[in-house]
Structure formats: structure tokens, C-alpha cells
């Protein structure tokens, strides 16, 4: 299917908070400097922002309408045009990207934020599953990811050593990332000597529990060229979803990632670097295969989601990190990926390019 060319939209600013195991600041408090920094780096005034879209989850915060409080970090008086998605900030970016297609406004602020520390993730996440057949089983993300990893191992698509290698590389890459939470040099044999957490997953195969935020400013081509020295162009962005019931999917594949990647144009030209939201080690291999990323593509120079997993911001952070590779590290073409649901149920793929 031919893609309809969309007007060029660029990322002109981005910022992140550190990733904390348990932040003592409130979500609006730690969003506050992140949003200010993203706007400042974009080289615009706050009042120049035409549209704001946020991604967060009230179930994580433990309070209804917690997302409204997050607007206090934006500067919402006099009233602004804004929207919210109960999803990762990457989908907020998608909504803002669609909004800018209208052509009547030219600048949008996007942010994602979450505090996983106050609640018990293993009790919260089963609530997003089928309420009759799966939620009562207490099927938490780690258990479902373990089933997925087992299916991969049984199918001969990955080994436990490869999983440990992905974890070790992620933690080593994260050493230079000031926002990361789990960093350091680890020996693969030592990692493999660790006991299972939830077989076949060891602790290193799991993401950390994190609090944090990410903000991105995007603009139309004319505006981006006016205010930004090195705009990062969004060449393609698409998201696809699979059925809710994990038992109806082949968990060793991700057709939604494949489709989103095709629609976003991943394969149209060589890719230098990819930031993949693989919250469990084995998922990185699925994503690489579905996106057709060969051994020459640098994967997760930031350390990825295994180094910092601020839920609701971690996908947007992949886009910000991919943009950083172009704006600050001279890369030409980057792929960013975000995911939602369990075991890669829903996936968003974004292709970024420099001038």
C-alpha cells in the first residue's frame, strides 16, 4: 500500500528527567524542569506552543484525574489547547503529529510521565487484561514476558546467553547516559550464573521499576527551520495493535511492529541507529527481526528500557534518544520504537532523519 506523503514535521527540542527507583518529588514537580528544558532547547517561548498532548496513567498514580495535575507543569493559564492519552507519551507525540497535519498551528509540546514506585506493578497490570479469564489469574507483565521468552527458546529463536548479552550490552551502553538507572559492566557468564527470577527470565532480563518523565517539542517545517539549527525530521510514524488475548497470538513474532515499520518506511533507506522499547531482553530480538535491522545497526545507545523504564515516558524517551543521535551525534537516519500492552501487543514505529 502506497503511503500518502505527509507534511514534514520536525523534533526541535527534547528533555528527560533522571530515572528514579522512587522519586520523592511529585509527578508535576519533576515534570516542571523537564518541560521547561525541552521548550528552552527548542529555542521558542512557552506562549508559542499551539497544542499540548500528555501521556500518563491514573492507575499508576493511584488517583483519578491525576493527569490534570500534570498540566500545572505546563503553564495552562490563560487556557491552552491540550489533550491527554492514557498511553505512553509516544502516542501523545503521534496525536500531536496528526494535529500539526491540519496546518493551522505549527508547534506542539508532548510529554509522558509516570511514577511506578507508589503502587505494586504486579497487582496493577493484570487489570489491563481480560477481566474474566486472565485478570483473576494475576497475569502480570513479568509472567507474560516469561511465557513469551519460553516460546522463543522453544522455537529456537533465542538462547539464554543471547538474552544475557542483550542485558549486558544495554547496561554498558547506559554508562554514559545520565538519565539511566541500571548501568555498569557485567560479565555474561556471571549474569547467567544468577538464579531465575521467573523462569526463563533472570533479573537482568527484566526492566527496572522507575519514576520519570520525558518531553519533546515538535514543529512544522517552516517553524522548525526558523527556530532550530538542526531539526530532526519525522519521516514516518505509524502504530498498530494486535488482539488483546495473548493466547491468540504467536508471541515469538510481532506483526504489529512489522506493519508499523513498513508503514513508517523503515526499510526505505539504511538505518544507522535504533532505539527500541524492549522492556524484556528477548523482545529486542523480536523487534530487530520484524524491523529488518541488521547487525550493522547500532541498537539502544542509551541503554534502552532495560536501563531505565519510566512507564508512560519510556517510549517517548526512545524517540528523544533517537533524535539525540541525529542532533548531537551526527547520525543520519534513526528508528525509534514504543510499545504498549503486554508482550508487545501494540507498537509504534517512528523514522527520524537529519538534514
Amino acid at each position: 500500500m502506497a503511503r500518502t506523503p505527509a507534511p514534514d514535521i520536525a523534533i526541535i527540542g527534547y528533555a528527560q528527567s533522571p530515572s528514579w527507583r522512587a522519586a520523592e518529588l511529585t509527578e508535576p514537580q519533576f515534570l516542571f524542569p523537564v518541560i521547561s528544558e525541552a521548550i528552552e532547547r527548542a529555542g521558542i517561548e512557552r506562549r508559542e506552543i499551539d497544542f499540548t498532548c500528555a501521556g500518563s496513567c491514573d492507575y499508576l498514580s493511584g488517583q483519578t484525574f491525576a493527569f490534570v495535575m500534570n498540566l500545572e507543569a505546563v503553564g495552562a493559564w490563560p487556557p491552552i489547547s491540550e489533550s491527554h492519552v492514557e498511553m505512553d507519551g509516544a502516542w501523545a507525540l503521534y496525536e500531536a503529529w496528526v494535529r500539526l497535519q491540519h496546518g493551522d498551528v505549527d508547534t506542539a509540546l508532548v510529554f509522558g510521565s509516570g511514577k511506578s514506585s507508589p503502587g505494586v506493578p504486579a497487582e496493577i497490570y493484570p487489570l489491563q487484561m481480560d477481566p474474566y479469564t486472565i485478570t483473576p489469574l494475576g497475569a502480570d507483565p513479568v509472567s507474560i514476558a516469561a511465557l513469551q521468552a519460553r516460546a522463543m527458546l522453544d522455537a529456537g529463536k533465542i538462547t539464554e546467553r543471547e538474552m544475557a548479552e542483550i542485558a549486558a550490552r544495554s547496561r554498558a551502553n547506559a554508562i554514559g547516559n545520565p538519565y539511566a538507572q541500571v548501568t555498569g559492566d557485567f560479565d555474561v557468564d556471571e549474569l547467567l550464573a544468577e538464579p531465575y527470577h521467573t523462569a526463563p527470565l533472570r533479573k537482568h532480563d527484566l526492566p527496572p521499576i522507575s519514576d520519570g518523565a520525558c518531553a519533546v517539542v515538535i514543529a512544522t517545517a517552516a517553524k522548525a527551520k526558523e527556530v532550530c539549527e538542526r531539526p530532526v525530521w519525522i519521516r514516518g510514524i505509524d502504530h498498530r495493535i494486535e488482539v488483546h488475548q495473548p493466547g491468540m497470538r504467536n508471541l515469538t513474532e510481532s506483526p504489529s511492529t512489522r506493519l508499523a515499520g513498513q508503514q513508517a518506511g523503515v526499510g526505505d533507506a539504511p538505518v544507522d541507529v535504533a532505539e527500541l522499547c524492549a522492556t524484556f531482553s528477548h523482545q529486542e530480538k523480536i523487534l530487530r527481526a520484524e524491523l529488518g535491522l541488521g547487525g550493522d545497526v547500532e541498537i539502544n545507545p542509551s541503554g534502552g528500557a532495560l536501563a531505565a523504564n519510566p512507564v508512560m515516558a519510556v517510549g517517548l524517551a526512545r524517540i528523544a534518544e533517537a533524535a539525540r543521535q541525529i542532533a548531537e551525534h551526527g547520525k543520519r537516519r534513526a528508528v525509534a520504537h514504543a510499545t504498549s500492552g503486554q508482550a508487545l501487543q501494540q507498537n509504534l514505529v517512528c523514522v527520524l532523519e537529519g538534514d
Binding site: 516542571f32 488517583q63 497487582e123
Partner: protein, 200 residues
Amino acid sequence: MSDKTASDKTANSKPAPGDTAPDPDAPVTGMDYFMQLEYHELLCPVVRRYAEKLRAGKLIGHRCPKCGLVYAPPRGYCPIDVVETTDADEVELANRGVVTNFTIVTPVQYYGQTKTEPFAKVSIQLDEPGGTLTLQDVLDCPVDDVRVGMRVEAVWAPPEERDTSQIGNRSWGSAEGCIKGWRPTGEPDLPADQFLQAAF
């Protein structure tokens, strides 16, 4: 979880879902799923300090260095001007003020509701240097007498009874556990018209 559910049932005589035995021959049209989620959030530094001051019998707020608006309790920023506020912007607040708005809550006896009679929750604009507390209780005043413009003063719990365990990062506007409520001072009302534009 099951213990909690059982004690809740004892405390409340209303039947809870699942109390009646299902008819074994009837088709299954629904199912009960008891669940609870617990959250434990660290108090942020500005609210921690606010709680400490409450235990010492003092109400504090932050005054925005730009617009001068006083936030009670402090938030650590002014959302209107988008500037951060710190201890340097701290002000001690008055124990007297005026009711700027109110809601009469008529309790519906849903599962877990302990109140039976109508009660008022009021917003109070404090005297100089200002600040507005929301969702406060009114003492020594019949519900029907609560009105905008009514002058009130804080009734503090004795120091040994003060308890800030219910103060959270989100309970902005609350002095629960330290201020029992607000009672009419008996002073003449202020004109209600002047609070029509008050935010709360």
C-alpha cells in the same frame, strides 16, 4: 485481601456482591472479582515541611515571587507563572478567613459510606497574607447556615492529638488531622458578591 473484605462486611450491614448463594441451574451472567490496590507514596519535601509545621500548629504556604498569589499548602511552583517556589517564598498563614464557596454533601448509603447526615465542605480564603484552603469542615454551625461570605476561624486539635498521617502529596488544601474544622467567628459577613470570581 479476603480478611479485609470479611471485616468490611461485618462493619457494614448492607449485602455485598457475592453474599447471596448463586442458583446452580441459572446461566452465568456475571462474576464477582474482589480487588484492592494499595499505594504508598513518599511525601515530597515541600509537603513534608507543611506537615511538620501543621503538627507545630502553623499553617504555611508559598507566595509566588512573580504574581504574589499564595498557595496553601505549598506546591513548589506557581502553575500560572510557571516559576518554581522554595522555602524562601514561604509565608505563615492566618488562622481566620472567609467562606468563598461550599458544597452540601447528602450521603448516599453506598458500600463503605459511614456518614448518614448532610454535611458541608467549604473553601476558605484566608486573611492576609492570603491563600485558599479547599474541602474544609465547618464546626458549630448547622448545615443550612453555611454561606458564602461567612467569617470563620480554625479549630486546632490539641498538640498531642495532631496526626498528619493522612496528609498526602495530592491532598492540597487539606489540614486533616490537625485542624478539626472551622467555626463561625460571629463577625458580620463579607459581601458574597466579592467572591463570585474566586477560583474555589
